[in-house]
């Protein structure tokens, strides 16, 4: 019964992708713009091969560069947004000062900051910071430009901070008081009550922030002025009419995005296990 149900669900879920493949195939026949399915599969099957006609690196190294940029910006966002969010959630003054700005900043597309970030950070990267003129030798490090990391950081910061604030605000006073009566000071209340109590909301924020970071990185890489990454690959593939690379990149973007969301979903399930179902 459950196996049958699983197979039925699998079959139902496969309908849209199959439909898309059919439409894709029909559209590709005789088209110069839409690549054929086998051509895209061919690109996906050789992820380490540099595209012969394209001013871009291999699919795998493009993916690696995009992932590194997102990880750097996302880690920075998590490390800064969680403490600030908890502060805003627990302090009336901090909330009055920061909440309006954060709510406004939240609705600005992080892409809008790209030109600003490029002006502020220029071409600097961990490689230029560490090795100066020799930076070009450290290709991968040089690709993680501060300007792009800053844009990812801005994109992920606000959803994480606002969710952490909501989580911290929602911690029950009775829980805090039970720890205070047992002798807990401010630090212990923070570590033993507020942080675990807000954890499900924080992870929700990380999930939203992670999703935004991954969308933003692709857009940022398509923006002129950056090199490397999956977005850059799409941009150059379009410019040079190698559409099979653009399509392959889109598929890889989707796969990595799904994996990222799946990981954060697992984390969410883990930290929320204690929450009883609402009845």
């Amino acid at each position: 019964m459950t196996v049958k149900r699983f197979l039925v669900r699998l079959a139902l879920g496969a309908v849209p992708p199959i439909a898309i493949l059919i439409v894709w195939h029909v559209a590709s026949v005789g088209s110069v713009v839409v690549p054929s399915i086998p051509a895209v599969v061919e690109v996906l099957a050789h992820p380490f091969r540099a595209p012969p006609t394209l001013d871009a690196t291999s699919l795998a190294s493009g993916a690696l560069v995009s992932i590194l940029r997102v990880l750097a910006g996302f880690a920075l966002a998590a490390a800064t947004a969680v403490p600030i969010g908890l502060l805003v959630g627990r302090s009336r003054t901090a909330m009055d000062v920061l909440q309006p700005t954060m709510a406004a900043a939240m609705v600005i597309s992080p892409i809008a900051w790209i030109p600003v970030a490029i002006i502020v950070f220029g071409l600097s990267s961990p490689a230029t910071a560490l090795f100066g003129d020799e930076a070009w030798r450290y290709g991968l490090l040089d690709r993680v430009r501060f300007a792009i990391v800053a844009v990812i950081w801005l994109g992920a910061f606000f959803p994480i901070a606002l969710n952490a604030a909501a989580g911290a605000r929602g911690v029950r006073e009775a829980h805090i008081e039970s720890a205070r009566v047992l002798g807990a000071g401010r630090r212990q209340v923070l570590a033993k009550i507020i942080l675990p109590g807000a954890a499900p909301a924080i992870v929700t924020g990380l999930r939203v922030g992670g999703g935004i970071a991954w969308r933003v990185i692709i857009a940022a890489e398509i923006f002129p002025g950056t090199r490397g990454g999956l977005g850059y690959m799409i941009a150059t593939a379009h410019a040079q009419a190698s559409y099979e690379y653009a399509f392959a990149s889109i598929i890889v973007i989707g796969a990595i995005g799904l994996a990222l969301d799946g990981l954060l979903h697992l984390a969410a399930v883990r930290v929320s296990r204690w929450q009883p179902k609402e009845r």
Binding site: R172, A174, H175, E177, S178, A179, R180, V181, L182, G183, A184, Q188, K192, I193, P196, G197, A199, W274, Q275, P276
Partner: protein, 262 residues
């Protein structure tokens, strides 16, 4: 100070709240009460008469508006050391397993993990919870079991003073009676000072060796309850005491609850 160890002393203690809807509310007015060390004092009064406020002031969770509260001879300005608080429901940490809830106080005191476990298990045993529940989360337990966990958590660090805010109000009657018996047994073994507040007159008469009757933010009667233990709820003197308390309420409240008159 040593002479005052384990004593809870309210001296002309008042507490006023400002509420948007009702303006100023006196939750407690010129309260004078001394809970002797090792005594089991019950405060009984209708809902809204200031019982929770009384305990919150003693626990150092709120400042007094006037007068003072002293515990162990020291004026309370923050939660004093060596107290335990058990409230009605929902103060257990829902993300912690039972054993980690019970060990919270020791964890805060930075007691080592092994000793914490041993002492938490001992507290769980003393409140008659089956050892298997130590791995459960609070929401997986019945209301009565949760209150046992809350009691174990308060007892675990070995407090000299227990403040109890209608801890058994939300459990069914047979369970409540069993919990009352177990509380008395623990108190007889440990000899803490217990300040127990309840709206349930029968519960107060069953538990108290001293009974404070409260209405409208004030004390209206202070009776010793010199009944032998274990007590018999059908005993003549028990029933007479119960009726006397009810009569006091009838005189002072005229059938109105504090909530509607304060």
């Amino acid at each position: 100070m040593a002479a005052d160890a384990g004593v809870i002393r309210f001296q002309r203690t008042s507490k006023r709240y400002h509420t948007p809807a009702r303006g100023e509310v006196w939750a407690l007015r010129d309260m004078d009460l001394v809970c002797e060390a090792g005594g089991l004092t019950c405060v009984v009064g209708p809902s809204g008469c200031g019982k929770t406020t009384l305990l919150r002031l003693a626990a150092g969770l709120e400042p007094t508006t006037d007068g003072r509260v002293a515990i162990d001879g020291r004026t309370v300005t923050a939660p004093p050391p060596g107290i335990g608080l058990v409230s009605q429901e929902g103060s257990l940490l829902p993300w912690r397993r039972v054993i980690d809830n019970v060990a919270l106080g020791l964890e805060i005191q930075k007691v080592g993990r092994t000793e914490r476990r041993t002492r938490a298990r001992e507290a769980i045993r003393r409140v008659h919870l089956p050892p298997a529940v130590e791995r459960s989360l609070p929401h997986e337990l019945s209301g009565g079991m949760r209150q046992r966990v809350a009691l174990a958590r308060a007892l675990c660090p070995g407090p000299r003073i227990l403040l109890m805010d209608e801890p058994f109000a939300a459990v069914d009657e047979p369970t409540r009676h069993r919990l009352q018996d177990e509380l008395v047994r623990l108190w007889q073994a440990d000899g803490q000072t217990i300040l127990f507040v309840t709206h349930n007159v029968e519960e107060a008469v069953y538990l108290a060796d001293r009974l404070i009757v409260m209405t409208f933010s004030r004390t209206v009667a202070d009776l010793p309850v010199p009944l032998a233990r274990p007590r018999d709820r059908l005993d003549r003197v028990f029933v007479d005491t119960l009726l006397a308390v009810r009569r006091t309420f009838a005189e002072h409240v005229n059938g109105l609850s504090c909530d509607t008159t304060s």
